[in-house]
């Protein structure tokens, strides 16, 4: 992992306490000119919560020895392995539902129990 900083113009630049430890960003730039002084800055970022990363992030791996789940190889969460099983199950169901929706766009999925469940998970971050 490489150190980065937030761009001084970012709305989050003055934030000291983040409710969640994860930010997503759109643009990353090297600022500060040549030499060794160049710093990598995140131009725009949004704080995201664990279940968003678990559901919409990269590959999930489980480390049984210390009860952690890893997203995309480096985003680690302390959680029981059952959480990974649950999230993998939901991901598979989402893919199936989206395949149905793509095959026939007139199918309404807005009130599908799975969609309601995912929204609830995201809203409560698992503390349903």
């Amino acid at each position: 992992m490489q150190p980065v900083s937030l761009h001084p113009k970012s709305a989050n630049f003055s934030i000291g306490d983040y409710e969640s430890l994860w930010l997503v960003y759109y643009q990353k730039r090297k600022l500060g000119g040549g030499g060794g002084g160049a710093r990598t800055s995140i131009i725009d970022c949004t704080m995201v919560f664990p279940y968003a990363l678990l559901l919409f992030g990269g590959e999930l791996t489980v480390q049984h020895e210390d009860s952690t789940i890893t997203v995309g190889g480096w985003i680690r969460f302390q959680a029981a392995p059952q959480i990974a099983t649950l999230v993998k199950g939901i991901r598979a169901e989402i893919e199936e539902l989206f395949a149905t929706k793509i095959a026939d766009p007139t199918v309404s999925i807005a009130n599908h129990p799975l969609v309601l469940l995912v929204i609830r998970l995201l809203q409560t971050d698992g503390l349903i």
Binding site: M1, Q2, P3, V4, S5, L6, F13, S14, I15, G16, D17, Y18, S20, L21, W22, L23, V24, Y25, Y26, K28, T40, I42, C45, T46, M47, V48, F49, P50, A52, L53, L55, F56, G57, G58, T68, G72, G73, W74, I75, R76, F77, Q78, A79, I83, P105, T106, V107, S108, A110, N111, V115, L116, I119, R120, L122, Q123, T124, D125, G126, L127
Partner: protein
Amino acid sequence: MAEIGFDEDDEHTVPPADEHQHAANDVHFAAELAELFRDSGTTLSPEITSSVPNVAAVRRMKVLYAAICAGMYPNVVQVEHPERKYHQVLGSGTVPLPTDPRSLRFWDGTNFSGSFASRTSHSTRSSQATSHSLTHS
């Protein structure tokens, strides 16, 4: 908004416009999303930044954050606080001091190759910082 599962106590319910009533569902869905994004720029933000945040508004924003997360992934940065918050909270019930934004460190794992060798240099620190419990809000 009830269409996409938001709280029933949502006072910003959008009456379906005539042109949407016989339109395809995906168009309807897109219109609802557009309304949600409009809300997030106007109605929602002041509620969230006010001292008494509207619970329903915060919940709706979390769905929006998740959509942003899905779009931006894998551009993820980890926030490292200088000292874990609960050190202050668990002490004697004292109010935790606000963290100085300049004391935060941000780590970009985007270039992480999958080899654990590249992060051994600060593995001790990151193992503490990354262990963010799912059962702890």
